[in-house]
């Protein structure tokens, strides 16, 4: 079957797809369910709609590959039957439409669907949708616009001559114009002749009918409630749009919108993957640089190793300069390039034309000022300006630098040298991210010059990397209050390492729906961090695809297995969709993969007489003594529920359980997602454990997500006397009261 059920679901006319020689009904779209209520999916057509003409037409279509049309009496509907794969596509058209045209459109629609379902290039989608429809309708011209920014359409494909196309390359939406109205209202605008222009758009009639144009059809492109753009067809003569033609064009618009949306999501997923890979590579790079600093080598050797690491991964050239002789002289300590002949060449150039220490952006100048220099592009004028004579110019032109950046090496606030990165024969350009990353490398490399700062630097790198894995701020989600806390494991003698706890909240394609995740990757270090980045970016991409939490976790597991980077490296994940209700409630669809069970704190207070007193007597049972401290003195006053799901950890097995459930949050109710750094925390009184967690979450006082997150973190940290054995991540989702 070549049709995807989802592709026909929203078409504005009946579509039924049958399979096999019994004509078993496999797909019935919404329109067909309304128009042909007798149809039953999964049953042969003869059992539900036993029209002999229809069955004969189905046989002809299936066995002879011949298209046909059948008029039904009840309901009054003409059904076109088109061969499709191992079955037949049956589409309804109003009785009295032009049968030949209807058949042609049915066939065209099928071809179009096949193309649009597989095509991934937006321009090609636009071209096929516009040109095929023009042929069928006899339109003179067609344009597909994409909504590229709020209130603005940009032409993606146009059949107009270049001069007209240029004029409508970018169109700002203004109410009271046919195209704008179609986009803003989400309904097509049909204008059949000059009188139609005069009646609906009198001010635009002159423009609309200029150059002997008369009829036009403007169709919005929408998926769910999202605005993607519009298709516009223009006709050289007056033209009546028959009901089936309107239905056909709307179908094309619907298919086209879905295809464009899919193409866009594919781009999003690819770029998410690329970002994750870039992040992972950079973490590994920094980690390698960091390890180098601990190697038993001289300062010069270490810096040469750093330069060797940089080339060719990050740059074609790398050089390191240091202040020497009490700060009076700057010396090139290390240089790296893949081709030793080139290093020789540059050395000879520098011997003949010693670098000018006062030239702006030189390693000397950067070391002196402590300010980085950034040349995203190196135009020839810059070389001309820097050359001493014609021969020098020729030599430095021969190096072929295309982009360069120089960052200071800083030790305890004092600039002691510079790290230079140059792109040449690769033709690449550095961007702002490269500049920031070069500064991180320089900061790591500076450790070679200051072993006392080693620990501090490691801590800073770990912090930098970890913050790349966590959102800087949670999104503003109307109807919800969100709060998160993250606290890394306390450093011990092995130093601080970037770790694997993750939380994230992002918007989904559906308005009012938010996606939340809390995950825990086992272990520490660059591999764990890379997996954390992969989880974050993969889930973001799956969420953008509109996948539900169970599907997203299954796809994430497959993605982790594909990576196969590090066997035995696993993660536990809690992933939820949160739908905001319009009455202060929220519905949480939650899926769990081997992750500790979330808790729900109800706003409703437990009966203090019934609950509080007996609880006092049970204080010792959770393994924490009565004197155990914070939180236990107060009796629990809110009802707390444990969402008992577990599932299988991700990244190890192909077949994993990711059980799901739905939790309703009333106004003021809160869901608490956390990592096992909470429950597995150990203090002098043993494990923190589930009982104490329930107790703290239910304790009186914290009346908001933020207050609860703060109180819970304080209790967990206090329980361990401030020494955390594992990372702690918390995410609290509250239905805003």
């Amino acid at each position: 079957m070549r049709f995807e059920p989802t592709a026909v679901a929203e078409l504005p006319f009946p579509v039924v797809i049958t399979s096999g020689s019994n004509h078993v009904v496999t797909v019935v779209n919404a329109s067909a369910r309304r128009e042909l209520p007798r149809l039953v999916a999964g049953r042969p057509m003869a059992e539900t709609l036993a029209d002999p003409d229809l069955l004969a037409a189905l046989d002809r279509a299936l066995h002879e590959g011949v298209e046909g049309a059948v008029d039904l009496v009840d309901p009054a509907l003409t059904l076109g039957c088109v061969p499709s794969g191992d079955g037949v596509l049956v589409h309804g058209v109003p009785v009295g439409s032009r049968p030949a045209g209807a058949r042609a459109r049915g066939a065209a629609l099928q071809g179009l669907t096949d193309t649009l379902l597989t095509e991934q290039d937006p321009a090609e989608i636009g071209r096929v949708a516009v040109t095929e429809s023009m042929k069928l309708l006899g339109a003179e011209a067609g344009v597909l616009f994409l909504r590229t920014e709020p209130g603005v359409l940009t032409s993606l494909f146009s059949t107009w001559p270049a001069d007209i196309r240029a004029r409508y390359e970018r169109v700002e939406l203004h109410r009271g114009r046919p195209l704008s109205d179609a986009v803003l209202d989400g309904t097509p605008v049909w204008i059949e002749d000059a009188a139609g222009w005069a009646a609906r758009y009198p001010e635009m009639a002159a423009t609309g009918t200029a150059g002997s144009h008369e009829a036009t059809a403007c169709l919005p492109l929408r998926v769910d409630e999202r605005d993607l753009g519009a298709i516009v067809f223009s006709f050289g003569t007056r033209r009546t749009f028959l009901p089936d033609e309107r239905a056909y064009l709307q179908a094309v618009a619907a298919l086209c919108a879905q295809a464009l949306d899919r193409a866009r999501l594919l781009v999003v997923e690819r770029s998410a993957r690329a970002v994750a890979e870039r992040e992972r590579d950079r973490m590994e790079f920094l980690a390698r640089t960091g390890r180098l600093m601990e190697a038993p080598l001289s300062v010069e050797e270490r810096l040469q190793r750093v330069a060797d690491l940089v080339v060719p991964e990050l740059a074609d050239w790398c050089a390191v300069h240091l202040l020497r002789q009490g700060g009076g002289v700057i010396e090139q300590i290390a240089v790296a390039h893949d081709d030793p002949a080139k290093i020789d060449f540059v050395r000879r150039v520098q011997e003949r034309y010693p670098p000018d220490p006062t030239a702006p952006g030189s390693a000397y100048e950067v070391t002196r000022t402590g300010e980085p220099a950034f040349f995203p592009e190196i135009p020839d004028e810059l070389l001309v300006a820097g050359a001493e004579d014609a021969e020098h110019l020729e030599l430095i032109r021969a190096i072929g630098m295309s982009s360069a950046l120089v960052v200071p090496l800083t030790v305890r606030g004092r600039s002691v040298g510079a790290l230079t990165l140059v792109h040449a024969e690769s033709g690449q350009r550095f961007d702002e991210l490269d500049l920031a990353f070069a500064q991180q490398i320089a900061a790591t490399a500076a450790v070679a010059l200051d072993n006392a700062g080693l620990y501090e630097q490691q801590r800073r790198i770990a912090h930098t990397l970890q913050s790349a894995l966590l959102p800087t701020v949670l999104p503003d989600a109307p109807g919800l209050r969100l709060a998160a806390r993250y606290r890394p494991q306390t450093a011990d003698r092995s130093g601080v390492q970037v770790g694997g706890d993750l939380y994230d909240v992002v918007a989904t394609p559906r308005p009012g729906r938010w996606a939340a995740v809390v995950a825990d990757v086992c272990g520490k270090g660059p591999d764990a961090a890379a997996l954390t980045a992969l989880i974050r970016h993969t889930l973001r991409a799956e969420v953008a695809h509109g996948l539900d939490p169970v599907e997203a976790l299954q796809r994430l597991n497959a993605a982790m297995l594909r990576e196969e980077r590090d066997p035995g490296r696993f993660a536990t994940v809690a992933h939820a969709h949160v739908d905001v209700g319009d009455d202060g409630t929220a519905t949480v669809s939650l899926a769990i993969a081997g992750h500790p069970p979330p808790l729900v704190r109800r706003r409703r207070m437990a009966d203090p007489l019934a609950e509080a007193r007996p609880r006092d007597g049970e204080g010792g049972e959770d393994g924490a003594g009565a004197e155990g401290g914070i939180g236990l003195d107060a009796a629990p006053t809110a009802e707390v529920e444990v969402v008992a799901l577990s599932g299988t950890l991700l990244g190890v097995f192909t077949d994993v359980a990711t059980p799901a459930t739905t939790v309703r949050l009333g106004p003021g109710d809160m869901m608490v997602l956390y990592t096992d750094g909470v429950t597995e925390a150990r203090g002098v009184d043993g494990f923190y454990g589930m009982q104490r967690l329930i107790h703290t979450v239910g304790a009186a006082g914290p009346g908001s997500a933020d207050a609860l997150a703060e109180a819970l973190l304080a209790d967990v940290v206090g329980f361990q006397d401030g020494v955390l054995r594992d990372d702690v991540a918390l995410l609290v989702i509250e239905a805003a009261p």
């Binding site: 086992c522 066997p567 035995g568 696993f570 081997g594 299988t648 190890v652 043993g686 494990f687 006397d721």
Partner: protein, 133 residues
């Protein structure tokens, strides 16, 4: 008292020799990141004889975090690649709780604890020093 156990008390091998085609590695005390390398060496040592069945007994650990899971999953991976069988003993222990919460009980070959009576209530965490048996 703020010093936490370092877990370097992971004990010696009981039955570490070959018993027919079965080798059993019994781990004691606490298995966390600090004790991981030691435990891994013990398992790899046991693998050298390519036993038909390698059993890792975690039932007597007084504490185990994700390091222990990683230890078992990696051994599981190597055993599968080499066509050997790997099993674990969990009993009613902190290790059992961790494997259960990660959904691993169905995924692994779990043997009952038979010949090794637990000398203390497994759920009890006996203080910060850990207690090698």
């Amino acid at each position: 008292m703020s010093t936490l156990p370092t877990g370097d008390t992971t004990g010696g091998v009981d039955g570490g020799g070959t018993a027919g085609e079965t080798v059993e590695v019994v781990l004691h005390g606490e298995l966390d990141l600090a004790a991981y390398e030691h435990a891994e060496r013990r398992v790899e040592q046991a693998e050298r004889g390519s036993p038909e069945l390698l059993v890792i007994d975690l039932s007597r650990l007084t504490f185990m975090d994700s390091s222990g899971v990683r230890l078992v999953l990696l051994a599981h991976d190597r055993a599968r690649a080499a066509g050997r069988r790997l099993a674990v003993r969990l009993g009613v222990s902190p290790a059992q709780r961790v494997f259960d919460s990660l959904g691993l009980i169905d995924k692994l070959d779990v043997l009952p604890v038979t010949d090794a009576p637990t000398e203390q209530p497994p759920e009890a965490v006996d203080g910060p020093s850990g207690t090698p048996t």
